[in-house]
Assembly symmetry: C2
Homo-oligomer: 350 residues x 2
DNA sequence: CTGAAAGCGCTTACAG
DNA sequence: CTGAAAGCGCTTACAG
């Protein structure tokens, strides 16, 4: 319970404007909100005085009289250490914010350690009327959040697909096609031993990628290699790479599920004196500044993550305005990421 | 104005609890908030029913009756592109959140392009009672935010020092000493031509570092070299490095003001076939996963940024509880970052 | 076109 | 120990 701050002018209320202008509070409210019921002359006076007093609506009062909070929640359940380094979320958040602030919404954000904590936060935020809706990221293959969100009746958008989870609108890019485009490219360069350092298999996008890789290998008659499972961290990316490169028949190309692991993998190759791309091609599934910072720069799937965030936020707004009829769900397929070829990939070593 | 969501159970109110238990709303409020005025038996019944109904306080109602919003604001005025990649802010934010969520506070975050936009957000958030206080980062040498915050009377903590700006409590680490420790270390390795790829000179910490470097050079009798000014971005870091390394008398060591630029600088050195650390030592002022991901790993000043955020948040809580008497200001000096020596530094080339 | 009044869900003196 | 009532700052039918 913070006390009133000592200095600073008291913040104006509608009452103050009403007194100065000499009309009722109701009239001021109508004038400020552009509703009919006041003369144009009164409206102008009200607006002028509001400006002069630097008035703004008390968000608590507004929320209490049914207007909603104009706050959107975003919870990310990943270890803070690895999160900090992943440019993806910062860009996504920027895009979300850009769309939200156009409409006077703010983003309330929280980083937590696991899914249980994430779910508990949704419950609390909803119970306490802290947000009007949430954006869910890192969709799971089997995702307990969906049932919770639906039972709460909380407006939400899920990032990750394909397929609509119950009534929750979903925005997704085609990870299958994306992975296929990488494998086709590497196969065209002559690679037949293509390894994959994947992410958390519980994440739907990770699973889709691994499945797509297997399908492509079969279609193209490539060697069967395991996809290594990691937690997306640099450590696990590095140790997976070490294991792969130490094998008798080492791969000629490795696909990493994110930019951080690709970077770590590149370092490991240098450590082991394996030249990239002469002896090993490296591809990252995520693009970011990181991938062009290295030497050689890393070939990566590129997408406009800022725009992605922007679209996701707009999708959420649509649901806020007219909640889904039961059974229906809005879906938004985003552009498939495009391969940005850089110096880390080349023809298979002869 | 979002409509009520279609599905989902209605959220319980104090009224609902009062009806079930058969007491007044006031009694329920006392019971829930642990205040005297209700019998222990009643309190237990109330708590049980609240639990059963999954009740939580409507934050708008609470805020409106004077309890504050339990929301802290954080605005970062840096280009989203470079921000995404800087682990510093994500770790700081995590630390802040850890301290805040212990007390039921949430963080409202916004990334903006410039200082003017940042200031406008503070005004709006305060006008609209959206936050109880804010945490300011990237302190400027001449910082217009200080006057704005003071005139609003908004509780705040400034990250960056030294010295207290007006009445705003300040948390800071000693950048002067930190820079000195780097230069001493490099000088001990025999380096005499030490260059510096600095950040935005308007930022107080950047300015302090540059001054400390000049002082150390003079004290140690090192060669005078300019500190290059950048915007902290990888591009400017890379081009500054190229310029430095192309000079007739190139430096034998370069100090980079953040990890992203150090990474970019390392890539440039590789591009130019300048071996690190044999021909060039590289030091980063920021430590993060990035610096250990490279090959060679980068020597860097290391600090516990998570803990930093935690302390900053606690400092803000203190001000929320008892606002500063005019003139007084709380200050918190944080541990000076410690040099983490890695493979990117070595003896001066002979 | 305008005013007076009730209501949103809490908290908190004030009576009993 | 408990209840009835006022108040926080808005919005919104309801009368005039």
């Amino acid at each position: 319970m913070p006390k009133k701050s000592s200095s600073g002018a008291p913040r104006a209320r509608i009452e103050d404007i009403a007194q100065r202008v000499g009309v009722s509070k109701g009239a001021v409210s109508f004038a400020l909100n552009g509703k009919p019921g006041v003369s144009e002359a009164t409206r102008q006076r009200v607006l002028a005085v509001a400006e002069e007093l630097d008035w703004g609506p008390n968000s608590a009062a507004r929320a209490l009289s049914g207007a909603g909070t104009s706050v959107i929640g975003l919870v990310i359940a990943r270890p803070a250490k690895t999160l900090g380094i992943e440019p993806f979320f910062a860009e996504l958040t920027s895009g979300i914010q850009a769309a939200l602030s156009e409409r006077g919404f703010a983003v309330q954000m929280q980083i937590v350690e696991n899914l249980e904590a994430e779910i508990e936060i949704y419950r609390r935020w909803w119970r306490e009327h802290r947000v009007d809706g949430v954006i869910l990221v890192d969709r799971r293959d089997v995702d307990p959040r969906i049932e919770v969100i639906n039972s709460l009746g909380m407006p939400a958008v899920m990032v990750g697909g394909p397929g609509a989870p119950g009534e929750i609108p979903t925005a997704w890019a085609d990870d299958w096609e994306a992975m296929t485009s990488i494998v086709d490219y590497l196969a065209a360069l002559g690679h037949r031993r293509i390894a994959h350092v994947g992410g958390v298999p519980e994440f739907l996008h990770s699973k889709r990628r691994t499945e797509a890789l297997d399908a492509a290998r079969q279609r193209l008659g490539l060697d069967e290699l395991l996809s290594v499972v990691t937690d997306f961290s640099d450590q696990q990316g590095a140790s997976a790479t070490r294991r792969l490169l130490a094998a008798a028949q080492r791969p000629t190309a490795i696909i990493f599920d994110n930019d951080v692991m690709a970077l770590a993998g590149l370092s490991v190759a240098m450590e082991m004196n394996i030249s990239v791309p002469a002896e090993l091609s490296v591809v990252s599934f995520d693009d970011s500044l990181l991938t062009s910072l290295t030497h050689p720069a890393i070939t990566a799937l590129s997408r406009d993550t800022f725009d992605f965030g922007h679209r996701v936020a707009r999708l959420l707004f649509e649901s806020l305005q007219e909640p889904m009829p039961a059974g229906a769900a809005r879906n938004l397929q985003l552009p498939t990421p495009v391969l940005q070829v850089r110096a880390s990939t080349g023809a298979v070593p002869r």
